[in-house]
């Protein structure tokens, strides 16, 4: 994600706090829908910025949002998506790579906190041997895949999901349960498949700099 996009996301979020609850609900649906669409990140955020100005201006004039953008919000968004440039493939790959590395660093830190620290405290000595199992990699990939699917599902269906129903709550509850249980189950199954053992600091030395490099590159490339 480029620096410019990140600054805009922060600003848009800040100004959206001025919206009335009803307008904020509609605006959030639009934001979710546009951000998970395949338009270029910068263009999506610019559209969000302009829509926010439309919303705030309408609010100031005392007009309803449906008077400004029509009552079919999804159609309005589709028109915008249709008119905008699509995200480039290289940009998609880079964003995914950054996410993958972030997920790996995060899982590794969690793993350290839950598996290594108790050992250190118990045995009063630092064991630098760190075993990377197939379970660890599988856990990273399942968490990433489920999170990705969940976010896209919410985004694509933001307008329908805004209407609350018991069935949706149930489906969401199940999905969330899956989100917690599936990675744990898979990593338990594969925990004995040792891929390699390396010293702790070497893993950090590879993971963290490569994450920072990908992040730095993604931020400054545009």
């Amino acid at each position: 994600m480029s620096n410019e996009v990140q600054v805009m996301i922060k600003q848009n979020y800040k100004f959206s706090k001025q919206l009335t609850p009803e307008n904020e609900r509609i605006f959030t649906d639009i934001v979710c829908y546009l951000r998970t669409s395949d338009i270029d990140e910068l263009q999506a955020e610019e559209a969000i910025q302009q829509i926010l100005d439309m919303f705030l201006s309408a609010q100031h004039r005392g007009e309803a949002i449906s008077d400004v953008i029509g009552s079919d919000y999804k159609e309005f968004c589709n028109e915008i998506i249709h008119s905008s440039s699509k995200q480039r493939f290289s940009s998609k790959v880079l964003t995914f790579l950054e996410l993958l590395l972030f997920c790996m660093v995060l899982m590794w830190v969690i793993d350290l906190a839950f598996a290594i620290l108790p050992q250190i405290i118990k045995n009063k000595q630092i064991n630098l041997e760190y075993t990377v199992t197939l379970g660890f990699l599988a856990r990273v990939f399942t968490v990433l895949a489920i999170a990705y699917a969940l976010i896209n599902y919410i985004g694509r269906n933001s307008f329908q999901l805004a209407k609350k129903s018991r069935k949706k709550f149930f489906i969401f509850g199940c999905l969330f349960g899956l989100f917690i249980l599936l990675p744990a189950f898979i990593s338990y199954l594969l925990k004995d498949f040792v891929l390699f053992t390396a010293e702790l600091h070497y893993i950090g030395l590879i993971l963290i700099p490569s994450y920072l490099a990908s992040r730095y590159y993604n931020r400054w490339r545009s």
Partner: protein, 114 residues
């Protein structure tokens, strides 16, 4: 085809170019101007996607200025390509208008005579 919005679709981009040609402006002002001129069904939400498309095709350039409510607001100007497109649109529109007028010249009289 009898639907007014269908008829309007092709002409709206040209009309937006004309409004921007008069002076640098932004989405809401454009939709208000069009409404004043009798385009009653137009709202900001109709104009905005067209502005994106026109800018993407290089017919418009934009400048971001502070808006009274916080987020920056985009003001649009015509590019040289946009001015050229406006001239072409008006030429085509006149030709089309004349042809339709000529074809329908006796139509209204006919209706009145009945």
């Amino acid at each position: 085809m009898n639907d007014k919005s269908q008829l309007l679709k092709g002409t709206l981009e040209g009309c937006i170019l004309k409004v921007i040609n008069d002076r640098e402006t932004y989405g809401y002002e454009i939709s208000e101007k069009l409404k004043q001129q009798g385009f009653s069904d137009i709202c900001e939400g109709t104009v905005y996607p067209l502005l994106i498309r026109l800018e993407r095709n290089g017919l418009l350039a934009s400048t971001k200025r502070d808006s009274p409510f916080g987020p920056k607001r985009k003001y649009y100007q015509l590019t040289p390509k946009g001015r050229q497109e406006l001239a072409t649109f008006y030429e085509n529109w006149l030709a089309l208008k004349n042809s339709v007028d000529r074809l329908f010249e006796d139509y209204q009289r006919g209706v009145k005579d009945e």
